[in-house]
């Protein structure tokens, strides 16, 4: 048994006893007592990034490399009678042409490599299920030659009726997207339940419940009931999806823009029947994924097949229009939410029905924030997917929770209004999380919550409003996450893992944790990651990277340090357990005069290096759930965000003036990097709230804003003043006690802005985006209703 720190630093720290495996690093002190962890040290690869030296996938240029391009369907729905590739194959410079076979369309996320290869073997003819679906691909000596050859492919399409609107897709006699599901469409998202019934275009529902929601609702003294709608949001990774595939007789190397090098390696090995040892995946840097680069993707499989066919490396990178149409998206949703409560605010029942559409994919659920955020004995939900002829959705930063919180947090505010309670007071009553209670206290103070006026009480043309909303996200851990730490004979240290740094700074936190354990500086640690030749690391999705890889990194550093201390002990004439590292030295605790530098000790190594390997151990108090390689920790990660807005009632313009974001992620390792991620979450949430929306043409099914200008993103002038505060929330769960931040940073943003707009106007908007037209319409409707 060991005593570990427990509690929230700003509230008060205590200790908890846990059973800790013998080979783990000893309990870590709170950040205040540490020298490297908890400090905002500079990003490990910052210099390479500001000098242009860092290599992204599209920067990889191999000798003899070919360039791939796709042919995409101009039809939103069409049977393909025949494809003639002969002219394309004869075009100068063309080295390989490939028809993308399979029953579910060639979408980026629609089939695994294994399913795709199997469909090719069985010669399953493609069906165009959405405009922009990849039908065929060409590899040629230049991008221009590939594009010219693509235009020479003749496809005999038989256009079919299509449906691109979720409500229309549920009408009787609506065109049916899937006659039957030969392969379960992929979601990439976390909320997809497989093998649900399919009737027409409606798949599901997936139901969960506890208690008796109907009885609870009947007994409730106050009920709020509302419908919400959310739009399709695009990931807009600045680096497009892409892959460089180099198929050789002795093995396959791919340079992938991916959030999961080890997962892509495994998928390639399974799909192409190769030993895992003969597949290498390299990701030096990755220019944004936000959930959409978690698997190999159809583009990845096609690049590999083209490379195999052509006998040369192939670079296949999507252009911006392809990126917007066929690299995933956040599904649109409709929700019907009812919350029943007693007069004192305690919740009696929550009932949620949702339908969402991820186009030709699944996973358009609204998550479990309604199920888990607040204490409520009776709950029921039914979530369904609706298929339409539009590009497949996939996981996007906090899938499900983002639309889910937009509804839940507005309805909770509405409940507070009905009960005559302050929204924070109601949450204090129904929210079981001690972390969020402290976050509400800190945030309310920062934003000046006591100055919040009654909803709609201002009368001028430009009105101000304050709003609050909360995040909830499961604390994910990848239990196969592993790494190796080496001390070399000159005293240098390196960490090796396939874990990728997708921009979050995973390399920085690795260096910090190892430096702390070895008594060195972070810049003394050489970080070698993003390569499956190293021990397999975790995926970077589900906010799990830090939680998964920092404990084994610290444990491996501890083990390799013990080896060095065993070597130093006889040199210093003291037992190894009397030695401590710090400040680049090894010193005796009982007689500090006996010491030597870390480097000097390393010089006495009999071999060129000392090595320790560690994989993620289970959390000391166990996990809440375990699904294959993934586990859900006992804690949640979350946060509370406050928004201050101004709304111009004459133009409909909403300006978010300030955001206050107070978050918890266990032990913060690098506060500034965490702050950077929270900025990103807030700005993606702000875009979701006010600006962003995929627009499909009703006549053709084509995306009308498949670019970065008509698809509206927040820019420098839309950025509010953002204040970030972090809790140190120790739980004694692992050797670093660190958890993730990326997704909770976004979940609360749109509902906080919506609640602030409701406070400004006295009118509530329940559909996204809350753009100028929507604001003006809501004001008009509010006036009509006598406001």
């Amino acid at each position: 048994m060991a005593k570990l720190t427990q509690g929230i630093a700003s509230v008060g720290l205590g200790e908890v006893e846990r059973s800790v495996p013998a080979d783990e690093a000893p309990p870590l002190a709170p950040n205040a007592a540490l020298s490297v962890i908890g400090k905002s040290v500079p990003r490990w690869n910052g210099r390479q990034k500001v000098t242009g030296a860092v290599r992204f996938t599209a920067d990889v240029n191999l000798p003899g490399m070919l360039h791939g391009r796709f042919l995409r369907s101009p039809h939103a729905h069409a049977r393909i009678r025949a494809i003639d590739t002969s002219a394309a194959e004869r075009h100068p410079g063309v080295r390989a042409v490939l028809v993308i076979l399979g029953p579910n369309g060639g979408g980026t996320t629609s089939a695994t490599a294994e399913e795709g290869v199997e469909a090719t073997r069985r010669n399953v003819q493609p069906i165009a299920l959405y405009a922009g679906q990849a039908i065929a691909a060409v590899a040629a000596r230049s991008v221009q030659a590939a594009e010219a050859a693509v235009r020479l492919i003749k496809v005999d399409y038989e256009p079919l009726p299509f449906v691109i609107d979720m409500d229309a897709a549920l009408a009787p006699r609506a065109p049916v997207v899937f006659e039957k599901l030969e392969i379960q469409p992929r979601s990439g998202g976390g909320m997809a339940v497989i093998n649900l019934p399919l009737v027409g275009n409606l798949r599901g529902p997936a139901r969960t419940s506890r208690g008796d929601a109907a009885a609870g609702m009947a007994a409730a003294e106050v009920v709020v009931e509302a419908e919400y709608r959310t739009q399709v949001q695009m990931h807009c990774c600045l680096e497009p999806h892409g892959l460089v595939a180099d198929w050789r007789r002795d093995g396959l190397t791919v340079y992938a823009s991916t959030q999961f090098t080890a997962g892509v390696r495994d998928e390639l090995a399974r799909g192409f029947g190769l030993p895992m040892s003969r597949v290498r995946v390299i990701t030096d840097a990755m220019g944004g994924g936000f959930g959409s680069k978690s698997t190999l993707g159809t583009y990845g499989r096609v690049a590999v097949e083209l490379s195999r066919k052509a006998g040369a490396p192939v670079r296949l990178v999507l252009d911006r229009a392809e990126e917007q149409v066929d690299s995933g998206n956040r599904p649109a949703t409709w929700q019907h939410l009812r919350i029943g409560a007693r007069r004192d605010g305690t919740l009696a029942a929550i009932s949620l029905e949702s339908r969402g559409t991820a186009g030709t994919a699944i996973g358009a659920g609204v998550g479990n924030v309604a199920e888990r955020m607040y204490t409520c004995p009776n709950f029921e939900q039914a979530q369904s997917d609706v298929f339409i002829n539009a590009g497949p959705g996939c996981a996007m930063r906090a899938p499900g929770a983002v639309p889910g919180a937009f509804a839940l947090e507005q309805s909770v505010d509405e409940l507070a209004d009905k009960l005559g309670l302050d929204p924070l007071a109601l949450r204090d009553r129904i929210d079981p999380s001690p972390a969020r209670r402290e976050e509400r206290r800190i945030g309310a103070d920062l934003i000046g919550w006591d100055r919040r006026h009654p909803a709609g009480s201002e009368t001028g043309p430009v009105r101000t409003g304050l709003g609050v909303a909360q995040s909830l996200w499961g604390s994910n851990v990848h239990v196969t996450a592993s790494c190796e730490v080496r001390i070399l004979r000159d005293g240098s240290v390196e960490v090796l893992s396939s874990v990728q740094d997708i921009g979050t700074g995973s390399g920085t936190v690795l260096a910090q944790v190892i430096a702390e354990e070895l008594g060195l500086r972070p810049e003394d640690i050489t970080v070698r990651i993003g390569d499956t030749d190293f021990p397999a690391g975790p995926p970077s999705h589900g906010s799990r990277t830090t939680a998964s890889i920092t404990p084994p990194a610290r444990n491996a550093a501890h083990q390799v340090c013990l080896q060095l201390l065993a070597l130093a002990a006889p040199l210093l004439g003291v037992p190894p357990d009397d030695l401590r590292v710090g400040g680049g030295r090894i010193a005796s605790v009982s007689n500090p005069a006996r010491s030597m530098s870390f480097r000097e000790a390393a010089a006495h190594m009999r071999t060129e290096q000392l090595i320790a390997y560690a994989s993620r151990s289970d959390d000391y108090a166990g996990f809440r759930a375990r699904m294959g390689d993934a586990a859900l920790a006992l804690n949640d990660i979350g946060g509370v965000q406050f928004a201050a807005v101004t709304v111009d009632t004459e133009t409909g313009l909403v300006r978010v003036e300030r955001m206050v974001a107070v978050h918890d992620c266990g032990r913060p390792i690098n506060p500034r990097q965490i702050e950077s991620q929270i900025h990103g979450g807030i700005l993606q949430g702000l875009g979701y709230a006010l600006l962003e929306e995929r627009i499909l043409d009703a006549a053709t099914g084509h995306m009308m804003n498949a670019d970065l200008e008509a698809y509206k993103l927040p820019g420098a002038f839309e950025v509010p003043a953002i204040e970030v505060r972090l809790l140190e929330n120790y739980q004694g769960f692992s050797s670093t006690d660190a958890y993730g931040i990326a997704e909770p940073a976004l979940v609360a943003t749109a509902p906080a802005i919506a609640n602030a707009i409701a406070n400004a106007l006295g009118v509530r908007l329940r559909a996204l985006p809350m753009n100028r037209a929507a604001i003006l319409a809501a004001i008009g409707a509010g006036k009509d209703a006598g406001r």
Binding site: V54, G503, V719
Partner: protein, 194 residues
């Protein structure tokens, strides 16, 4: 019709029209404007202080030539239509979208890419400040952001936060680095003045 036959056809038509209307000698028709391309032509670009002669197809953009032929891959292509500014380079110190400029049209102007901003091992103050303030995440928009911020400081040594926002307003950053980019650029300006 291929690009090649389109171009040669246009040339013939132009020549024919000139002959018909002016009825001048063959010498005049031979003097009609020279057609460049579609085959590669040699041009010399002044890039990061050195003259680089490359054979480029006339349709090639500056971004394509920098990345593909000069191996200066710090210049990124995010949209290839001048919207996202990831491809920003400096032409005589002025930020431009290199994806929307033909390499042939660069002429005598000096091109500075992200690889040419530091002086040897000494980072430009904006680069150092970007690291210090964590003004980058994935890093894909970073080269362009850094160059626009550096150009701002060259023309305005004491910018306000709004000046910085205006200077980077054409840059798309999906990671949301804008607040730290503003902090870093103001800090770099401060550091240069003191």
């Amino acid at each position: 019709m291929s690009r090649r036959s389109f171009l040669s056809g246009t040339t013939a038509a132009t020549a024919g029209l000139a002959a018909l209307e002016t009825a001048v000698s063959e010498a005049a028709s031979a003097a009609s404007p020279a057609v460049i391309g579609p085959n590669p032509v040699f041009i010399t670009l002044k890039v990061n202080g050195s003259a680089r002669t490359v054979a480029v197809e006339p349709r090639s953009t500056l971004a394509e030539v920098l990345r593909g032929q000069l191996d200066l891959t710090g210049t990124k292509i995010g949209c290839d239509r001048g919207t996202c500014s990831a491809c920003t380079v400096l032409l005589d110190g002025v930020p431009v979208a290199s994806c929307s400029l033909l390499a042939l049209d660069v002429g005598e102007r000096a091109v500075t890419t992200i690889e040419g901003l530091a002086e040897g091992d000494a980072l430009h103050p904006v680069q150092a400040a970007f690291i210090e303030h964590d003004a980058l995440q994935c890093g894909f928009c970073t080269p362009g952001m850094v160059l626009s911020a550096a150009a701002l400081l060259a023309r305005n040594p004491a910018p306000t936060a709004n000046d910085v926002k205006a200077a980077i307003s054409g840059h798309v950053c999906r990671c949301g680095t804008y607040p730290h980019v503003v902090d870093a650029t103001l800090a770099a300006a401060q550091a240069r003045r003191s």
